[in-house]
């Protein structure tokens, strides 16, 4: 039973990782940019959310409502202000630019929020759990998982069936031809990044609710997002979702085997996928 408990916890944790991963998958799929500050953005939004909650006495629902537009704005500014200058064939400038941004952002957060760890107070929700046939699961993790499923499905539909989604896929397939069909690439990239970071705003609330947050956490979150995308398979939103789940299970089951091995087992699963199925587990090959 304990193993099944661990797997379920892992799947639920994976829901959070999936939320990190789908935004990264979107940005890489469309612009071939990996934003190294991706994890730091989660932390930034979480800290903003926590501060707002404390200052204005907001509940978690309101914090989400606040962070989605804030995240969208941050993403939009990031793309138009920085990333639009480095979209292109050469990966070096975008890597280095976002790396510099990450360093600056982490230390900026340090100066404002200090290295103290913080958490979002969600009241009794933090402790509630359900019991189904002898299996326990926390209510919060279940909510996180459900939201992950919802976000992934929503993003998938947006990409497949909306004007915005079609334009984005066209720009990813052939930028010049997209321009010839009327796509304003600079604007659509900014909208894509806005969407990606808005999703991170939601993830930020859940991260702050389930554990503590501090300015230097960004690196770890980036790595989890990245591993989830690779495990699941690049170029697929549902792939990123699946990758997140697998990573979550690997980490929790690993920690169950030995408490100090959790994250390491996650890395090892990632490396194994790289060795045996580098295109990802959900890819069509």
């Amino acid at each position: 039973m304990k193993w099944i408990d661990a797997i379920i916890q892992g799947l639920l944790l994976g829901g959070l990782y999936a939320q990190y991963a789908i935004g990264m998958s979107l940005m890489f799929g469309v612009m071939r940019i990996v934003n190294i500050a991706h994890g730091d953005l989660v932390v930034l939004l979480a800290l903003i959310g926590i501060s707002a909650a404390v200052a204005f006495g907001l509940g978690p629902g309101f914090v989400i409502l606040l962070l989605v537009p804030v995240g969208a704005l941050v993403g939009w500014v990031l793309q138009r202000g920085i990333l639009n200058f480095v979209v292109g064939e050469d990966p070096l400038p975008s890597l280095i630019a976002t790396f510099g941004l990450s360093l600056a952002l982490q230390n900026f957060m340090l100066t404002i929020w200090s290295a103290d760890t913080r958490s979002l107070n969600i009241g009794p929700l933090a402790l509630q759990s359900v019991n189904v046939g002898g299996l326990h699961a926390g209510v919060l993790p279940i909510i996180i998982f459900a939201v992950a499923v919802g976000l992934t499905a929503l993003l998938d539909i947006v990409l497949k069936s909306t004007r915005f989604g079609r334009g984005l896929r066209a720009a990813a397939a052939d930028k010049d031809a997209a321009v010839l069909s009327g796509v304003d690439t600079k604007s659509i990239y900014a909208q894509a990044t806005a969407v990606a970071v808005a999703i991170l705003g939601i993830a930020a609330v859940f991260q702050a609710a389930r554990t503590t947050v501090s300015p230097s956490d960004g690196g770890a979150q980036l790595i989890y997002a990245f591993e989830a995308v690779i495990i699941g398979g690049m170029g697929s939103i549902w792939g990123a979702f699946a990758g997140g789940l697998i990573l979550g299970v690997a980490q929790v089951v690993g920690a169950y085997v030995n408490p100090s091995w959790g994250i390491l087992i996650g890395h090892l699963v990632f490396l194994l996928v790289l060795i045996f199925r580098p295109q990802g587990l959900m890819a069509r090959q």
């Binding site: 200058f85 480095v86 070096l92 975008s94 510099g100 360093l103 600056a104 952002l105 230390n107 790595i223």
Partner: protein
């Protein structure tokens, strides 16, 4: 124009000054223990390590086209090799330093084969995951004291003066091997192939350059150079731990130095290292605010001047210190 009356210049006036000067400086380093204060000697050792590590990152990214944010994997590997060889095999630490390149090389080979399946930006994060994996494994390895780290006790059997002599000699050798080695490599036929590969891998491949094998070789060589610098750095520190040896901040240093100094040229990382070094000495007291500035500078350079300070200087005046190109001149136009 009769071909036999054409000269090929490999050196410029600026390099005829700079290279002998560099060699003099290099020879001067081991003399420091005899006249310089210990504090300054430590600074020179640190600076030498930064220059070496940055040159290796430059080789990787500027010539190999591989951006790594995980070189700390090999810094830690080199450092821990040294400490392990000294503590468990009882080797004289100064003699063990050259051997500290073995473990990084052994780790680098399979690492490259794994990571090359990843696309550009994902390759970079992959190198970070690798470094984190090494850190976590070391953190759980009781034989090397896990999280508490190791101390280089063998150094206690030498006087401080002897230690300084040993370290400065090693530093001079480190710079000779990394900077000098890179210079000679780039001037050779192999270097020509490397430059071709950097500029256009597909065309280079069509001319017979084995791109894959070259990248593999660069990755392993860079790992060895980085490991060597790591060993020397931590020898001077006398202590190593998983958190410090595999610290991601090492990558921040590399990237700042090379990107701000100037990528793809040997002179760039030297300028960048000097800049970083002095800036940290002066502004480091401001802690996080200083690092914000570092990060922003790196970002600005990447956006607007990817060739860094040396690139800007080069456009104003082409005065290379370590020239790697060929210039064809007619004998009657050669100035004396």
């Amino acid at each position: 124009m009769n071909p036999s009356r054409v000269l090929v210049n490999r050196h410029t006036l600026s390099s005829k000054i700079a290279i002998p000067l560099a060699l003099c400086l290099l020879l001067a380093i081991p003399t420091l223990p005899f006249w310089a204060p210990s504090g300054q000697i430590r600074l020179v050792i640190e600076l030498s390590c930064f220059i070496a590590i940055a040159q290796m990152w430059n080789l990787l990214a500027g010539y190999g086209g591989m951006v790594s944010v995980g070189q700390q994997a090999f810094i830690g590997a080199g450092g821990y090799s040294l400490f392990a060889l000294s503590s468990f095999a009882g080797l004289n630490p100064f003699l063990a330093v050259p051997l500290a390149i073995i473990l990084p090389a052994v780790l680098a080979a399979p690492s490259y084969l794994l990571l090359r399946k990843l696309d550009g930006p994902y390759f970079a994060i992959g190198t970070w995951v690798l470094a984190e994996t090494f850190r976590l494994i070391t953190n759980n390895l009781d034989v090397v004291n896990a999280g508490s780290g190791m101390t280089l006790r063998a150094m206690g059997s030498f006087t401080p003066h002897q230690r300084e002599i040993g370290l400065t000699v090693l530093c001079a050798l480190l710079l000779l091997v990394t900077v000098g080695g890179t210079f000679l490599l780039l001037r050779s036929r192999l270097g020509l192939a490397l430059t071709a590969m950097r500029d256009d891998p597909v065309s280079a491949a069509s001319q017979g350059v084995n791109v894959n094998r070259m990248r593999f070789a660069i990755y392993v060589v860079a790992a060895m150079g980085t490991g060597l610098a790591g060993a020397i750095y931590y020898m001077a520190q006398l202590r190593i731990s998983p958190t410090s040896g595999f610290d991601p901040y090492w990558s921040s240093i590399c990237i700042f130095i090379v990107m701000v100094g100037g990528i793809g040229h040997i002179e760039g990382p030297i300028i960048g290292a000097l800049l970083y070094f002095f800036a940290t000495r002066i502004f480091g007291q401001y802690g996080a605010s200083y690092l914000v500035v570092l990060g922003v500078l790196t970002m600005v350079m990447a956006l607007f001047s990817p060739t860094g300070l040396w690139g800007i200087l080069n456009r104003i005046r082409h005065w290379p210190w370590f020239p790697v190109s060929h210039t064809v001149v007619r004998p009657d136009t050669v100035q004396h």
